[in-house]
Every structure is written in C-alpha cells, then in structure tokens.
C-alpha cells in the first residue's frame, strides 16, 4: 500500500471537474447558482493557498507570540462571522467575542494542561480552529433560537411581565431552550461518530499514516472538547443576549 501525500498541480486542476458537475446540475435545474459556485471555487483556492503559506510560516518559526496572535486572529474572525449572522442583536460582536473567547481559551487551557496537546503551533492552530468554528455555529444557532422564540412566545412573556416577573424570570424557559438548541448538534454528532462519519481529526491523522487506534484517542478528546465548548458558548451567549429584548422599564421590545 503506497500512501504518498501529495497532490500535483495537474490533479488539482482535474479536480475542478467536481465543480463542473455542480455547475451542470445548476444549469439543468436553472438554480441560478452558477456564479455563486464559480466564486466559491475561486474563493476556496485563494483563501486556502494564503492560509497554507501563512501556517507553513507559523509552524516553521514556532514562536509563542506568533502562535498566540494566530489563536486571537481565529477567535476574532469567528466572532465577527457570528456577529454578522446575529440578525441585529445589539452588542452581538461583544457577546460573540466573549462566548467564543471564553469557550476557546477554557477548552484550549484544559487540553494543554492535561497534556492532551502540546503548545506547538501545528497542534494549537488546528485545534483552535476546530473549537472556534464549532463555537461560532453554536452561537449562530443560539441567536436564531432566541430571536424566533422571543417572537413566537411573545404573549407568554407579556403574561409573565404583567404578573410582575423581571427580565430573567420571564425569559428563563426561552434561555434554557436556546442553550439546549445550541448544544444539541454536538451531542447528536457523538451518536454517529465513527459509525457514519469519520470526523476530520481522526481522518487527517489516518491520512497521515497514524494508526487508527492512536487516531481515535485524539478524536475522543476532540469530541469532549466540542461538547464542552458548545455548552459554554451557548450558555454565555444566551445569558448575555436575553436582556437586550427588554428596555429599561422591563418592557418587551419586540
């Protein structure tokens, strides 16, 4: 069995055939996505080539400060993206930064202190990316859940306010439900892990020739990490957000 890890330029160009298939589907079904697929293709190439060279540089110089900047850069980007999907929740950047930041730093801290991963850029940077991107999707779902639930349960909240409940007492059911919704994907993912999906972490290691019995150890750590990160970030995001649906006089704003 040969396991040569290299994709030649020719193979890379030939793989654009995959995009051509997508464009054919688009053309046949008149989806109007042709331009989007084309742009997505270009975007993927440019973005990844840049990040490839940046990471290669970061890994080579192996400098603590540069690694830290990389971590912060990922957290910042994730927060910015979550903020953009928040549909006008006030202070959403601050909230996103706090929930992603705290979640990432806590998870990273535990992993490094427990010795599961080492503080070297080739481990820290990919793990940070995994944590931050999961945290980002989680709070995206959390924001969405909060917004729809506040709209759907408007009358219920008004009833509670009219009975003299404060913001927290009126929102408690909604906040709990939103945390739950935010956490759900990471919990359900654990049901199929290894049975249906071979997640990125272990796939990558196996690709690189690591024995599966070793690769799954990393995957176990990653699964635990993701469950905890989604819990932390949806918890922080929900509790920081619910108050913004009320004004100073504890009146519902939507």
């Amino acid at each position: 069995m040969t396991n040569h890890l290299e994709i030649s330029n020719l193979s890379l160009i030939l793989s654009t055939l995959l995009l051509v298939i997508a464009i054919l589907v688009d053309y046949k079904e008149k989806l109007g996505l042709g331009k989007d697929i084309f742009i997505a293709g270009i975007r993927v190439v440019i973005q990844l080539f840049i990040i490839g060279y940046v990471l290669s540089f970061v890994f080579q110089i192996n400098n603590n400060l540069v690694t830290l900047i990389m971590v912060l850069f990922i957290i910042f980007n994730a927060s910015y993206n979550a903020h953009k999907t928040s549909e006008g929740i006030p202070n959403s950047f601050k909230i996103s930064l706090t929930s992603i930041g705290v979640g990432t730093i806590l998870a990273l801290g535990i992993l490094v202190l427990s010795g599961a991963i080492d503080w070297v850029p080739s481990q820290i940077v990919p793990i940070t990316g995994m944590i931050a991107s999961n945290s980002m999707t989680t709070i995206g779902i959390t924001y969405q859940s909060l917004t729809t639930q506040f709209k759907d349960n408007r009358q219920q909240i008004l009833e509670k306010l009219a009975l003299g409940a404060d913001e927290k007492q009126s929102s408690l059911t909604i906040v709990r439900q939103s945390i739950k919704t935010g956490m759900q994907p990471s919990i359900s993912r654990s049901k199929t892990v290894g049975l249906v999906s071979l997640p990125g972490m272990m796939s990558g290691l196996m690709f690189a020739g690591i024995d599966p019995t070793e690769a799954i150890r990393y995957q176990i750590v990653v699964m635990f990490m993701l469950i905890s990160v989604t819990a932390i970030s949806s918890f922080i995001a929900s509790y920081m957000t619910y108050r913004s649906f009320y004004n100073e006089e504890i009146q519902l704003m939507i």
Partner: protein, 218 residues
C-alpha cells in the same frame, strides 16, 4: 382621600400617529370603572399604559401619589395587575401557572389559595395538575384570572376579558370580580362592550378619538 390612580395629560403616539391625546382622570380606591368606546379608540393602549407594559409619549401616571416610573416595574405590576384579552397559559400544567406568582416572589406555593381560587371559578381541585393543552378557552381564561389573583393586587386592569367567552363563563368571571370589588375593595378598571357588564360598574369613561369623557358616575 387621594386617588389610587391618577392620569395627567397622558398622550401616546406611535410612528407619528396620535393614539391618545391628553387623557386625564383619576380613580379612587375601590371603584369599579368601565372604559368603553369604539374599537380603535385607544382604550387597550390606555390600559397597557396604566399596566406599565408600554410607556407614554408624554404625560404622567400616578399610583398611590407617586409617579409609576419611580416604582420598580416589577413591584408596580404586582400591585397593578394587567389581565389580557385572551390570556395565555404558559409551561405545562395548571400548577406551573398558579405557582409562577409565588416563584417570582421567592415564596412557597400556597396550595390552599390555589384550590380556593379554582373553586371560586367553578373548576374542580383535580384541575391543578391538568396539562394546559387539555383545557377549553373559557377554562384557560378562568385559570388565568386565578393566576392574576394568587397574590391580591390593589388594582386589576382587564381588557375585554369575557369577549370571547360563552354566557356561562362570562357569568363566572363577572361574579368573581364583583365579589372581589365588594368584599376586598379591589379597584377594577376594565374595558367592555357588554351592556350587562357595563351596568355592573359604578363609573363609565368613554374613550373616543383618543380623548376621555366621564359619562356616568354613581
């Protein structure tokens, strides 16, 4: 005696449209007042303003001699209790609803009072653990009333609470609040179009084109 509620030059506008204009009147403790008027006249808005669920564009509301925004909104709403036109029950069971008022006060649930309340609105005690989805509209409205009265407020604001109910349910609710008004001196301010119900109150205020007019006083 100073009035329990006093409105001074109360106005409310939304998106440049005037809903209420310079409303002024006062209500004494123990009065049973009906607000009436054509639909769209701003009655409901007025009642929500008094319930502090929305804030006026200008003018003042005094409760017990003090401007209402000087009270903590939660304390004020516990004393001046607003009751919605079609009340919604929340969470799972009747118990969840009747226990909510004690939960937000950090107090133990007064089961006796809850059962007594159910009895007053002619519902059996077994209803306490009934899931809310099994209740009829009239039953929900009656339970919501018990919920609002688990801790006796000083003023009860009601917005057409019987409009969607049948005669029997109307009767039960009316008897209940009449008794509270007479025996416990609960001040009631409600909106209704029902002639029978208007007769029960001792004062009638007409809201028309955003202005108030006292038309009956006894």
């Amino acid at each position: 005696m100073k009035p329990i509620l006093e409105l001074r030059d109360l106005s409310f506008e939304i998106e440049g449209r005037k809903i209420l204009e310079n409303i002024s009147f006062s209500i004494d403790k123990g009065e049973f007042v009906t607000l009436t008027g054509p639909s769209g006249s701003g009655k409901s808005t007025l009642l929500k303003l008094i319930g502090h669920l929305i804030s006026p564009s200008s003018g003042k509301i005094f409760y017990d001699g003090k401007e209402i925004f000087k009270y903590a909104p939660t304390d004020y709403r516990k004393n001046v209790s607003y009751f919605f036109q079609s009340a919604t029950l929340f969470d799972e069971t009747v118990y969840d609803n009747l226990a909510f008022p004690s939960k937000i006060r950090d107090k133990a649930f007064d089961k006796n009072r809850a059962l007594k309340g159910l009895h007053t609105v002619q519902l059996p005690e077994t209803y306490l653990n009934k899931p809310i989805r099994e209740l009829s509209g009239g039953e929900r409205q009656r339970i919501a009333l018990v919920r609002n009265l688990m801790y006796a407020p000083n003023v009860l604001l009601m917005d057409e609470v019987t409009s969607s109910l049948d005669k029997e349910n109307k009767e039960i609710i009316l008897t209940f609040i009449k008794r509270l008004n007479q025996d416990e001196k609960l001040t009631i301010l409600w909106i209704t179009h029902d002639t029978q119900e208007i007769k029960e109150s001792n004062r009638l205020i007409l809201i028309k084109d955003g202005r108030a007019e006292d038309i009956k006083h006894d």
